[in-house]
Symmetry: C2
């Protein structure tokens, strides 16, 4: 792996490239995606059939062809290997328990003059989950998107997933059965996002769309944002690791590779105070790579987008990592918890030697749908909040109105809004 | 006002028009806005100067010309009329108190085998508030956008506001001083949004942009979404009122007009179980309109976008209102609180005779930046949450890894991700 020292003259240039790692070329695919959306809006199911024939190699003839039968999902679940089924159940339970802790409560607050102020929390009516299919069909994606919606109390959950050659992924079907999801449609890409956002004869319009996807899916989500809500616009996966001389170089190396194997575009960055660790990790990466199934992908990712940065001190390491704002952040130092207050930007933070990032992908409990490309500066992990919305509650008594109505009327007059003022003034006792 | 009965044959057509009230023509202005954004990205301040000369009628020559001097803001505050200043302070305190109650806490949760799971809450580094200027410069907009950011703990708050003829609105300046905001730039429209999203020599790039604006601002916010976060894409203001025969028709009428006076595009909808109330409200609206300062605007809004709907029963009224998903919802019935569980979609809910919507615009405490055009189906009021982001926290002990590591490795193998599995397996004791 490439090793940079922060006092190298070329460092700033290299670091800028890391910061700009995620420039997705959304603008370039926008015209294509706009046309796909337009066709779905105008033609509904007919456009869906056509797009599926073009992209997935089979041709649905009717509404029923689009939907996956519940019996198929049940069968896929029953056919699961015993150990795998137990693992999925453990994942389900742990993910559910974590997301239940996130649930906000409606609240009211009372003032003695009769004022009641509060906030009502309500689930959205209908949620659309986009789950990748084909090669990258991960049952864990279904769990991580469906469970927050279920915990939030969404009554109507719709899943869309591309199904090349009309051959659904068995694991995905099993996971749908496990989550009790009944509406699963075999459609992917920008067409699926458009169908969820605007509705077709078969697929009902939803209120929020979540889930990962390629650049066409990401672009479609951006274009329909506002018509519906979305979780985030996500790009390739990433890991940042902060380590000191106490870290185990084998652990650091395999954790970097566990991101690199996802995607040639994935970024794996180690920032360490120890030049010795840097060297040792680099050679462990070479060793692990030799026998990796997904070696080609991982090698390319590590060569082109991997980096080890050696800093002067831990403060510098943290500052650089906050600028990177990684999707996943591992901290492998003597006492990782003491660094937490200084970590500002990271999707998920994994602390200590025994917490490799993949444990969070599957089973720890927190969501694995996380902000990428530096967007952890402002986005949060997928959570129950994405499936809820809030309404403010305001109730004034006659006394409360007498107490503060005049001040409100003064402000209304100041802003030149007479009817605003009047609606208050006719309620004031003279 | 037009009165519809739900059993009229034409009702569904009229109601569909109400549901589609907000179709903002974002697509039409997109090319113009894209070019504005592009110029700001490429030329920075130079493009800002040019756009200001074109749209606001004065030409800044330097970075200092763009920024409003803190002394000016202090002076504007000191020049305030005594009563107005007191009203602003009361508004500030009440808005602050409400938003403090919204603050989520970071949390950790512990399992006996040494697992720690949690969620860290961190304010964004820098927030950009877009505040309309000129005619519609409202100090209340500044308060409602700045206070949630302040309460959330945002250190760096940047305000942009269009300043026609280089004449800043004194009230806005005073409100900035009251909120302790130091960075205020005289730039508006899509240019301001682009400057906040991408940064220029003078204006620093922010993490989140909030605030109201016209269609150019709304479109720019949509286009930069993903580069930064935004609060929502907002359209014209609206009120929905649910009332039974107990409601005071004068109160209902003036509250409808308080929205109508905002904008010809504003919608004011009453849904009532009482045909008598419908008739009385309609004539009260006519009476109030005669003497209203902003009569022309209000009249046009009421004529073209106002409606009174008479339903068979309260359940039907609520169902229709949930479909409308209004920005503001007033409930004026015998016992309004009992209807709350059934209200699914509304930005803010005002309960009872003494709670006119304008009390929420200024001084009650909850935010007045609310989802419009039916987006209350999925958007929430502006809140501290818009200025915060979360990071998941995961820490496993050696024992925790032994307990559930194997299940995670099974899932990783199932998904064909060998390095994921390996990063877990090398931590398991054989």
């Amino acid at each position: 792996m490439r090793i940079f020292h922060t006092d190298d003259s070329s460092f700033q240039r290299e670091f800028t490239a890391i910061l700009e790692r995620s420039d997705m070329d959304i603008e370039q695919v926008t015209p294509i995606v706009m046309q796909i959306i337009d066709e779905i809006k105008k033609e509904g199911d007919d456009a869906l059939y056509r797009h599926i024939a073009k992209f997935d190699g089979w041709e649905p003839k009717s509404s029923e062809d689009l939907r996956i039968d519940a019996a198929l999902m049940q069968k896929a679940y029953e056919n699961l290997d015993e150990k795998l089924r137990a693992a999925l159940h453990l994942a389900y339970e742990r993910i559910k328990a974590y997301h239940e802790k996130q649930m906000p409560k409606s609240w009211n607050d009372f003032e003695e003059n009769g004022t009641i102020l509060g906030q009502k929390v309500t689930p959205v009516e209908r949620a659309g989950l986009y789950i990748p299919g084909g090669k990258a069909a991960y049952p864990s994606s279904l769990l991580m998107n469906a469970i927050p919606a279920i915990v939030a109390g969404v009554k109507d959950i719709v899943v869309t997933t591309p199904t090349p050659n009309n051959e659904p992924n068995e694991l995905l079907l099993a996971a749908c059965h496990l989550c009790g999801i009944e509406k699963v449609y075999k459609v992917g890409g920008a067409s699926a996002v458009a169908a969820l956002a605007y509705g077709t004869q078969t697929i009902e319009k939803v209120d929020v769309i979540t889930g990962p996807g390629n650049i066409f899916v990401a672009t479609a989500k951006k274009l329909v944002y506002g018509e519906v809500n979305i979780d985030m616009i996500a790009g390739p996966s990433e890991i940042g690791i902060i380590a000191d001389e106490s870290a185990n170089p084998r652990f650091v190396a395999i954790d970097l590779l566990s991101q690199a194997e996802h995607d040639e575009m994935a970024s794996s960055i180690l920032i360490t105070t120890s030049a010795t660790l840097a060297k040792n990790v680099s050679s462990e990466v070479v060793k692990f790579l030799q026998n990796l199934q997904r070696r080609e992908i991982a090698q390319k990712s590590i060569d082109e987008r991997g980096a080890i940065i050696v800093t002067q001190c831990m403060e510098e390491a943290i500052d650089l990592m906050n600028q990177i704002a990684p999707e996943h952040l591992e901290i492998m130092t003597q006492n990782p918890f003491t660094l937490l207050p200084k970590i500002k930007n990271a999707g998920a933070i994994f602390l200590g030697d025994n917490t490799p990032e993949p444990i969070g992908d599957y089973i720890a409990g927190p969501n694995h749908t996380l902000p990428t490309g530096g967007t952890a500066r402002f986005y949060s992990p997928l959570s129950v909040e994405h499936f809820l919305k809030k309404s403010s509650i305001i109730s004034f008594s006659c006394q409360a109105m007498q107490d503060i109505g005049e001040a409100a009327a003064i402000l209304a007059h100041t802003e030149g809004l007479e009817a605003h003022a009047k609606s208050i003034e006719i309620r004031l006792k003279k």
